[in-house]
Symmetry: C2
Subunit: 217 residues, 2 copies
Amino acid sequence: MRPIAVVGGTGPEGLGLALRLAAAGEAIVLGSRQAERAEAAAASIRDTVPDAQVTAATNAAAIAAADRVVLAVPYAGLPRFLDGGANGLADKLVIDVIVPLGFRDGAFEVAPVPGAGSVGELLQSRLPRARVVSTFKNLSAEKLRALGAPLEGDVVLCGEDAGARAEVAALVSAIPHLRPVDAGGIRNARFLEAITALLLNLNRRHKAITSIAILGL
Amino acid sequence: MRPIAVVGGTGPEGLGLALRLAAAGEAIVLGSRQAERAEAAAASIRDTVPDAQVTAATNAAAIAAADRVVLAVPYAGLPRFLDGGANGLADKLVIDVIVPLGFRDGAFEVAPVPGAGSVGELLQSRLPRARVVSTFKNLSAEKLRALGAPLEGDVVLCGEDAGARAEVAALVSAIPHLRPVDAGGIRNARFLEAITALLLNLNRRHKAITSIAILGL
């Protein structure tokens, strides 16, 4: 099986996910706009996980090398990314972990996503042939990167393609202590993005790193 | 201390909260647009909780009798309620449990709230002298009404007034098994309303009654 590309893999969330997926035995091609930065990040993963299968590339080359692409570019960079480099995503499984955050008057909020109700919906609309699954929006990058500490929380995922959701759920399950929760269609992405803003406000107020669990399943 | 008014107390969420608060020893005045319907609902609570202190009234009379008002009218009825009967709420602690839900193409969604980002924000804006706390948005009415079954989940609350949040947090704590979680300002209400739509979609998909927990606090 071809590696999983992590686009924007030098940012905190992308790097944290790449680390966790590599530790779970997945082959990763870590992408960045600059190949040298990707190489440095890949080396840091190999330092932490000696048997990690992690290579580095530009974002475009990482996408070309993969069928499954974690999209972890910062939200502020997403329009440029979509205008410039999204063609390669056309037929891929796109794992969207982007949250459109803003900060105003002392609190986090969800920034408006022009033309869509969420980043997940925007991506599926801009990439009609891709199978977009929005997920991993509610796990702290800091915790993802602290490999020695167990994660906790449920990883809710959504997308239009049930097979794609199942593939991503299997990836979630491969990371110890995480449980995938299938929410159905991509329109749920807006709720996942809202939860991130709430958790960040809780983190600020309570000096904590929070995550969510879904009870009753 | 004067009773807690539950406005819209014959609907499932209002009735469930009135039942739980009465079981916790709070005096309740249960309001409805028709006093006879309120009386029938109050009687059903007294049947379940023999020592419940529950009286019945019209919504307006219930508000007049209370300093703390749980607002549980259906979202569809909120504009009419605000235009007609909201004057009495001016200086009260208003506990907003309303969720603006819609349903489209097989999934729940958050309905737009004209002029505001959430019902909580709308209420605080329309009732500038009231102390609005949005909470209890993510507990199922069905579970609230099943007094024999323990509740589970965290009750996130938000509002501009820290004292009001503390008062409501104490009410949450009075209900066994529930933990209040203070999220800060009222702008978080939109996130609580989003969570409700997500939980309802999970309920539908998984044939469950879900709630949330905040981990890491």
